[in-house]
Structures are given as structure tokens and as C-alpha cells.
Symmetry: C3
Subunit: 305 residues, 3 copies
Amino acid sequence: MNLRHVIESQQFTVPLLLELFDRTRRMEAVVARGGTKDYERRIMATLFYRSSTRTRFSFEAAMHRLGGQVLSTENGNEFSSAVKGESLEDTIRILGNYADVIVLRHTEEGGAHRASLVSPVPVINAGEGEGGQHPTQALLDLYTIHRECKTLNGLSVALIGALDVGRTARSLAYLLSKFERVKFWFIAPPEMQVKPDILAYLDKYRVQYELLSDPAKVLPTVDVVYQTRIDRERLQRRDIDLSVYNIDANVLRALKPNAVIMHPLPRSVEIDPAVDADPRAVYFRQARNGLFVRMALLSILFDRE
Amino acid sequence: MNLRHVIESQQFTVPLLLELFDRTRRMEAVVARGGTKDYERRIMATLFYRSSTRTRFSFEAAMHRLGGQVLSTENGNEFSSAVKGESLEDTIRILGNYADVIVLRHTEEGGAHRASLVSPVPVINAGEGEGGQHPTQALLDLYTIHRECKTLNGLSVALIGALDVGRTARSLAYLLSKFERVKFWFIAPPEMQVKPDILAYLDKYRVQYELLSDPAKVLPTVDVVYQTRIDRERLQRRDIDLSVYNIDANVLRALKPNAVIMHPLPRSVEIDPAVDADPRAVYFRQARNGLFVRMALLSILFDRE
Amino acid sequence: MNLRHVIESQQFTVPLLLELFDRTRRMEAVVARGGTKDYERRIMATLFYRSSTRTRFSFEAAMHRLGGQVLSTENGNEFSSAVKGESLEDTIRILGNYADVIVLRHTEEGGAHRASLVSPVPVINAGEGEGGQHPTQALLDLYTIHRECKTLNGLSVALIGALDVGRTARSLAYLLSKFERVKFWFIAPPEMQVKPDILAYLDKYRVQYELLSDPAKVLPTVDVVYQTRIDRERLQRRDIDLSVYNIDANVLRALKPNAVIMHPLPRSVEIDPAVDADPRAVYFRQARNGLFVRMALLSILFDRE
């Protein structure tokens, strides 16, 4: 697997994804026996210009399970603060002296790419800007579907919620459309439907999709329900009742017995806690898969050198 | 020792305490030879909704001396901030994917108990709310008495200071009253005396105690002086002169040669630095004992699995 | 090498410096093979009363490359905050229970010395006050010259920039003047020239120096150009054009083929990024040397025990 930096989902071809997921699966076994010491001399630096404790923790846990060490910068601006306006490039050059891999969350789209151009060590994009790439989240979502559905072909996937914002729906649509006979259902109130660029992309690759405002009639047919976060303030501002889009006991009754319910977490009201006990609720396993996918990515980057 | 979570001091029976202290004693030897690698695949996460650098450090040092790794969250709210109001339960479920033990300081009483109900890994309560439980502090206090006095029976213990606030006096009274023939002296200005609930508890278990406002006549008789923190602003507001309750050279002259002087630290004016050199001043050893007690607790939780 | 604490540059005699640099050189080889496990039971605590992510990271990376563990306190005040005004001494005594070495950045000159008087473990001064000592920065600067110029004798060194503030120029002048036939050129606008105390020091030790406001005529003769940080706000306030002191392609043309260009980083406009590719631009290697020097110092302190 020829991987020098992890910058965007588009880097990952189908063979690369399947190889990554094979290694990810093996990482589950590694964690089950408490981790490995194979990478004990490796140091990972996290450089987060925007705080994201959850993502940072997932990476740090992955590094520790591989036996390595962590340098943790929660506030990338402080790293550069002695002189205002130190360039990202200079900061990366210096951090590249200390660490064997840099996990970067930058505030601007393209930040991770810029970093990769000057970094002496691999760079992993841990999310950037508002709607920019967050490839490890996309990969863990895809891995979860792969793991739970045993296939990535022929799937019927319902994306539900405020689909006009956030990158989750976009990333998943891009990645899943690499596989065969996928069908997307975009389920949202009209004013929150997916943006035209995603639809144009799907048209170009001849991927089937349908836009809906009512989930009821589709839920009994889908393999995957991907519920997205709901910004409650935004809903109240618009006076929209999104409870029709919530996952609750009624939805559970409608779903196929082998369907899976996903969510990027953290959740708010959009999934009823009563759903947690249902075996089709996989969102906590999905979060756990983030650990395995990141371990697999880190190990690939280290092995390559 | 059957210990799944460490939530409150009441969990600890006398046999459990003595077994814990035996292991704590052995941890002193482990540290003396630089630590162990026995737990090198273990990861501890600290989740502090209220910052407490001192307690966090003691736990992290304990984990490192056991050979393990640490995921450090100084600000638990940030962990949950992407969507306001993520439940403690969801946060614990996710952290439980990354770590083998969670050290929690929550803002509300009962938080650690709630966490333990959903956590896939052991939870240790590192203090909660304002006057809530802080069992590892109570255990290190008791261990210090055990270690210095060679017994926990038949002791005469003076608690001095603002006894109406803080949990130190409360916890120590609860734990020590499990042992035989203990006598407490609560020494404070009347407006800062211990709350009735402690006295009711001691009455119920037929533990001897006495309330005093003048330490002078009791000091020559006690085995343990437990000095508590003084909030100077509060004193000034009330126009109280607490210097009569300070530990200084005069107190040293009054105390028995084998008495011990304890304090939870950090101290302010209530212990004169001139006291530090006296062999009866054990408060820095007491802080150090926190390291050993936490190592013992962590190792018990890990061994049990 | 008899080293108990690292408090100030003046501790380092010429033989001590050369021994340190010999060990530093060996640390380069250690890092090239991924680090060592020789110090895997050692714990380093960073206690920074003033945030300095860059310096902290360099120390933490050094400790990890030695195989050890890190307790990280970015905000020393929080450590002491439960009771306002806990003394530095008490904090050090407690931290000394948890760690095998304390890396301290205090707000006041003399803080590291005070800490060393009570600490049960070695203390390293990681910078203090505004213009106080920052010995590891001074040592890495000197090591870089030693490494790049193959000697510390007979050098001609130009210090450029706002020489009246900052400690870089001061430290370097003190350390380099221990060697033979060094000549300093202090190049700055008159209102930003070095303070008289440095000149008095150089006079006392009969070190040659010259004050200049125009770098042009000196640059072709020097072995080392040490460019310092420029506070742009200060310049704008004074309406000074410092661009004449910038390092750019013109300066590169003027410099000797074997001269070196140094800078403590982070840089602002005072070094043109176009200079980076020139083999004489050693400032990123200089930052990297900080890692090796700190590894050498830590290992010396550990070996001594």
C-alpha cells in the first residue's frame, strides 16, 4: 500500500480501501489482546488548530495501542504564538523534527495538503475548515458498513437529517459511490436537503439516488440508516419540527432485521436512548471502529518508511 | 479483593482496607526501584469536568509508574461540546472504547455512580461536586495514619480548621470510625464546627468525639493532628482570627513526640513552613502516599479482569 | 560530569560544554535509529507557569526519545490554584514525589534556583521571567555553532536585530566568550543596540566586539549570522524600517560560502523564506539540535543518580 500522507478520501481506491479494512480487522484482534509493542519507538504529534478532544483522543488511543508515544498540542495557535503569524509550514518543519507522524486539524481547507508539501514526516488530516475533508471519519464510517453488512456492494443507504451542512453525508456519498449498485436515499425537509454538487457527482458516476422528505415509506427497505447530527438552535430558529426524522421505537419496528443504524456522535435528541439496546444500533461500535481504522492507517504509514 | 469500580469510601470494609494498604506498601518498593512494566499495555483516561491538576497528576504518575499509558482530558466539557448536552453516559461509553480504566471528576454528586452503570471499563471517582465523595483522598489519608502510627485502632485524632466545609473531615470520620476505640476532637470556632450529620453518624456507630474551640488543652494528648485548609477570604469576611488554629513552633512543643501532623495540601498560612523540618510533619509524605494508594487501586482493578 | 540541576549557562565550563556536546552528538545517532529504551522507567514533569508550547514539546520529545514518560503541566498556576498563593517550593516538593526530573518555566528570575534548593529531584530551567536565563536555548545555539563550524574558537559572529530585548544575544555572548579569539559584531539601529552590561562583561573578559548599524560591510567576513526575532508592533510604533536587517537573497550573495545563518525561531519577516533552501540556512537544524541537547542533558542528570 503506497501511502505517504492521508489528506483526502479521494486518495483511497477500492483495492486500497479493502487492504486498509483487512488491516483494520486485524487491529481489532491486536486491541483484544491489549495492544502491541511493534511501534514502541514511534512518536505521534497532534497539532490541532481547532480543538476536537474526541478526534484527538481516538488518535492518541490508537497510537498508545500500537505501543507508541504522543506529543499533544490541543491549541495549535499557541505553538505559533511567540511571533504572531508563524506560517503553518514553519510549524510543521519544526514538529517534523520531534515526531514520526503529524496529525493535523487546520482551520482552513487545504491546510493538510500544504503541510504535506513541507513535512519531513507523514501528515494525517484530522479534519479541516468547516465543510472540508475529514478522511479518517469517512473511512471509519465506511469500515463500519463493511464490517456490519459484510459487503459494500448493492447497498441501499438512507442519509437522514440536516444534509445541507456537515461533511458526513458528502464524504460517505463520495466513498460509497466507488462501489457497485449503491442506492442513496437523502431524507430531509426540503430546506435542508443535500447540496447540488453531491447530486452532480452522483449523476456523473451514475449512482442511483432519491430525495425524500418523509422517511416512513423508505425505512423498511434500507440496509443502512445514517442519522446525522441536528443543530437544535438552527431548527428552533426555522421553526421546523424534525422529530419526524428521529430514530425511535417506531423506526426500529419499521427497519429490516439486518439493517444498521449509524451516527457520527455525539448525538443529541435525534436518536432515542431506548434505541441503544437494539442490536441494529451500531453507533458505539462505529466510534470504536475509529480506533481500529486509525491504528491501521498509522501502522501503514510507519511500515512504509 | 472484589473491586469493579471505586465510587465511594463506604465500599471499603476493614479487610478490604487492610488488603489495599498491604498492596500500597508494596507499591512503595516498586517506585523505589523505578516502577514496573507489569501494566505496560494498559491505558488510563482522565476525564475531569472540573480541573484538578494536582489530583490528575497523582493518577497519571501512578499509571506511568505501573508502566501504562495515559489519555488526558483536563476539560471534560470539551469532550462533549460538539453538541451541547451530550450525556455523561454517552461520553463514558465512547471513552470506554479507548481506555482500560476511566478516572472521573464530575461536577455533580452521583456522577461517578452513573458512569459506572454504563462503563465497559472500571471507573474511579476522583472527586465530585462540592462536598461529594473523593475516595482516593480519603484512602491516602487513612493509609498515611496506618503507615505512620502502625495501627488504626485506639487513636486519638484532632481535626482542626474550617470543619463545616470541605469533605476531608467528613471522609476521615467515616473511614476511621470503622476501627476500634477511635476518639475524635473537632477543633474549630463555633461558627465553623462540623455539621450535625457527621455527629449523628458517629453517635450511631458509638464513636467518641468532642467539640472544642481551643486546641491548646488537647494537643498534648492526640496521636494525629489533621489540619485542614483555610479559606482566608472567608475568614476576613467573617472577621475571625484563625491564627490560634495554626500549626507553628508552639504546637510542636505541645505535641507528643510520636504524634503526626497531616494536611491535604496545598496549604496556606495554617502551617508555618518552620514546621516542615519536624519529623512529625508528614504532609509531604502524605501527598506521596497518594501515588502509592492510586497505584495499588489501579493494579487491583487491572488484576481483577 | 557533575551536574545536579541545570539553572544557568554560567554553570557550564568549557570542558563541561565539550563533554555535553560529545554526548549530544551521540544522541543524534540515537534518534536516527528511533530512540532508546535506556530511560524507560524515568518520568519527567513539565511545570510551566508561562505557556511555551514550543519549548515544552522539545523537552517532551527528548524524554520520549530516551524511552521515558511525561507529566505535562502547561499551566503551573492551576497546579497551585486550590489555595491561592501556594509557594513554588511546596509545588516542587509535591511534584518531586511524582517525577524524576522537573522542567520548570517560572515567571520570575531566580525561580529555578529557588526550586532547586528544595527539590528532591533535578530541576531544569526552561526559561524564566522576561530577560532571565534560558540555558537550554543557549546551549543548543552554541552546539549548533560547534556542529556547523567544527570549532568554537576564532569565530567572527554577527548578532543582528533588536538586540536590546530578548535573552538570545546575551546568552550567546556569555557562552561564546568562554572560547578563544571570538569577535562579536552587534548590528542594530542605535536605539536597539545591546545593553551596556553585556559590553562591560565582554570588556572584562577582553573579548573583541564592535557596534554597527549597517550590516553590509561586515557580512562578507563573518562565520556566523545570528538573526534575532523582530517584534513588528514595536517597530511600527517607533516608525523604524528594519528591512535593512532582514536576511534575503542579497545577504546570501554577500556571505562567505561556509558561513551559517541562525535564528531562534519562530521567525517573522526577518528571514525571507527563499533563504531556507540555502545550505547555509541552519535554523531548522538548530531547532532540531534542541532535541539532541535536551536528550543529552536529561541523560546526564539521570546517569548521575
